[in-house]
Amino acid sequence: MSNDNPAIPRLDGHDKVTGRAQYVDDIHMPGMLHGATIRSTIARGTITGITFDPALDWSGFTIVTAADIPGKNEVLLLTTDQPFLADGRVRHHAEPILLLAHEDREMLRRAAGAITIRYREEPACLDVRQALRPEYLQHGTDNTFHKIDIIKGDVDAGFDEADLILDETYETGAQEQAYIEPQGMIARPSPEGSGIEIFGSLQCPYYVVKAVTHLLGIPVEELRVVQTTTGGGFGGKEEYPSIIAGHAALLALKSGRPVKLVYDRYEDILATTKRHPSITRVKAGATRDGRLTALEIDLVLDGGAYVTLTPVVLSRASLHASGPYEVPNISIRARARLTNTPPHGAFRGFGAPQSIFAVERHIDRMARSLGLSPLEFRRRNYLKLGSVMATGQVVRDDIDMHELATTVYERLGGAAREAELAAANAASSHKRSALGFAAFYHGAGFTGSGEERLASQVAARLDGDGHVEILSSNTEIGQGTITIFSIIAAKALGLDPSEIRVAPPDTARVPDSGPTVASRTAMVVGWLVQQAVLDLAVKLAERCSDALRVVAPESLRGDTFRRAAAQAVESGCRVVGRSKYEKPAFVEWDEVNYRGDAYATYAWAVYGCEVTVDTRTFEVEVTRFVANQDVGGVLHPVLAAGQIQGGVVQALGWALCEEVVYDKGAVRNAALSTYVIPTFVDVPPIEILFATTPYEFGPMGAKGIGELPMDGPAPAVLNAIAVALGAEPERVPCRPEYLMLLADPALADARG
């Protein structure tokens, strides 16, 4: 451990454990209406008519269609292909068509049944493998949202050198974020003057500002977006909330009243974004003595019906596709294509879990084909200080992946445990157990030039009591933003974290410090928090502390800072500390050719597990899990461990039991009874280990870790299953029905 940050209770904990914390659906405003969204029931076609049943009294309703949109009917994100409301043309099931508001939720329910929409249906593309067919063309020239090619060396020459070549294809399914708080927004006309105020469950208030000002055709000053206590996000509340916010705003504008638009679980699963499904073909070549000579990867992501964030997901997928290995010849061809399913979007990991699953499964197969243990094969190929990655980035971390792996292996019991399991397998009629591993990295922060484009800013001021108040748009969504920022600020100024205030993300007050995504909050924005409070100290020294005769800002720490702050407040001397993102000098990234420093830094990890398969039912039980990662620095041991544990369990769900079932492009299992996430009794004991090789631009050396735990569990578990069963699972989720067929292909025909 490189530092000794104490595990203080999280600073927003009290309201949460007493039930006092206010989530969007807890908020009530006088005169508030409830909103509802009427959605498409087909996957592709044109709307030919909309009928409102005259038997219902429509006078109490506010009704909004695309025709009511004052600005542009475009969800402004990376591009503008997605409408807020379908205007004639429908591209996916559950696409929003019109909006209703009414005082009485029961009336809204009846109204939904009293609206008939007629369509002329067209053949829908429901399989990404068919997206290139001309009859399915709906986007650009070939239904391709984005393409990325990363080339290092010459793969053909590399394969020529190889003694073993394996070529296999891996698939991963969609995953629902399943935050326990469904999505929702409240919009109201501003109490003073013109403009709109929006309150809701979200991760990125400035994304909402950008999208809704474009929708309404209003200047930024006329929109205020405030984050309410948010019950989980995981990426699912990165971009989708902008759509709900826009809908609520349209209803509020038209009715002149506050409107609450909250989804129930059914609508949330039916309509909101999911993790991109993927198909990844990995062809690898290695010498007899286990050195990789070539890696050729063809990756396809299913983007759903609109672009949303797909190009960035594809970017991360492609940049993680070759694994933590130094391979002289690499070709990564990544494509993202359209299908007529509800658009896919951000979900923790953001493309990396998909591509890492494929390469880590494949590496295990390479190892076994060469008669090497999975950890030994990896050892012969790991990246290390000075290694060159696929984009040409040179590894700056003095990382020892094999040491991480050895620790994991030992904690699982090593060779002795493997021998025990082998003996147990031989003696058991129906239990097969094995160990499995995965090695990976996760880039922290946005890709090379992404952070520069975000140009994040943080401010720090003194509140009326002389406390330091941090102003940033980064949101607390459970991961501990408020506590972490307080710890960072306090450490910088020699104060106690309880003395720091973190302003609620309210765009009327806070600058744009970028979105709460991409494992950037602690590392990138935390650094800016540190700089902002140090700048505050400088300005206090320069402008407010004549009475104290303080000369050096560095001396304003602890009690001297407290005195200076108190004096500044008393004398009315107002200063604001500011910081702005600066790219570390060493980062050089060529966005056009996809070469250079893809990420400023990486967290590095090896995960391992012990798994038992019951060959009567092919149920899989993960009995032990060890997660070992080098994260640069640990800002709060309990919050950090909590991130890893939560991420591991979420990833185990993706690996084993979470499946989005589609039927004609519609989600069929839109409930928590049928979309199955792990419970208390579905999780193994999870041992978490942190190594800390500090990152020079991370607060107290810390790197981002929010997404890291999502990458390792699926390949580690499936690698263990492969050893246990002597079969090769290539699919996530890896369900018992699939394993049964894999273990005995003859079953597909046989009866019993």
């Binding site: 009290h14 949460k16 039930g19 935050y179 708080e181 019950g231 989980g232 309990v638 939560g646 591991v648």
Partner: protein, 159 residues
């Protein structure tokens, strides 16, 4: 279509509500009584975010119609701090990181308090399996509940 009148006690206070018989107890708590601590996560009794204690039993309020609350004694998360078990659980969650985003926390605290009141030990995971959490991975919640049980055992209190 007849409204029904139901009288019951919530957090020590007697209330009478009149309305549709199948109005969910959760909605009566949140909307009529403005007790928004109980949350709706799934609407079908799957996630436990709406948990309360009714007549001494742990229940999901989203699948109890108000019709069935006649004469009931109900305790919601808002009242827990006033009980030794509830207060111990809340303290333990704060000390041991049992809450992250907090949306499952009220239901989790209620369930954990009920477990503490019934002094279940080795079965904490099984007793809480009706409460879903997506943030924590469950370990820190188990740690928190065990800490609460230890603290209560030391104090000798049970209620």
């Amino acid at each position: 279509m007849a409204d029904i009148t139901t009288t019951f006690r919530v957090n020590g206070r007697e209330v009478t509500v009149t309305g549709p018989p199948f109005r969910r107890l959760l909605d009566v708590l949140r909307e009529e009584l403005r007790l928004t601590g109980s949350k709706e996560g799934c609407g079908e009794g799957e996630c436990g975010a709406c948990s309360a204690i009714m007549n001494g039993e742990l229940i999901n309020t989203c699948i109890v119609p108000v019709l069935q609350a006649e004469g009931a004694v109900i305790m919601t998360v808002e009242m827990l701090a006033d009980t030794p078990a509830g207060a111990a659980v809340q303290r333990a969650f704060l000390e041991h990181g049992g809450a992250q985003c907090g949306i499952c926390t009220p239901g989790m605290i209620v369930a954990a308090t009920w477990v503490a009141q019934h002094q279940f030990r080795g079965e904490i995971r099984e007793m809480l399996a009706g409460n879903l959490c997506r943030c924590t991975g469950y370990d820190l919640i188990v740690t928190s509940v065990e800490a609460a049980l230890n603290a209560l055992a030391k104090d000798g209190s049970r209620e």
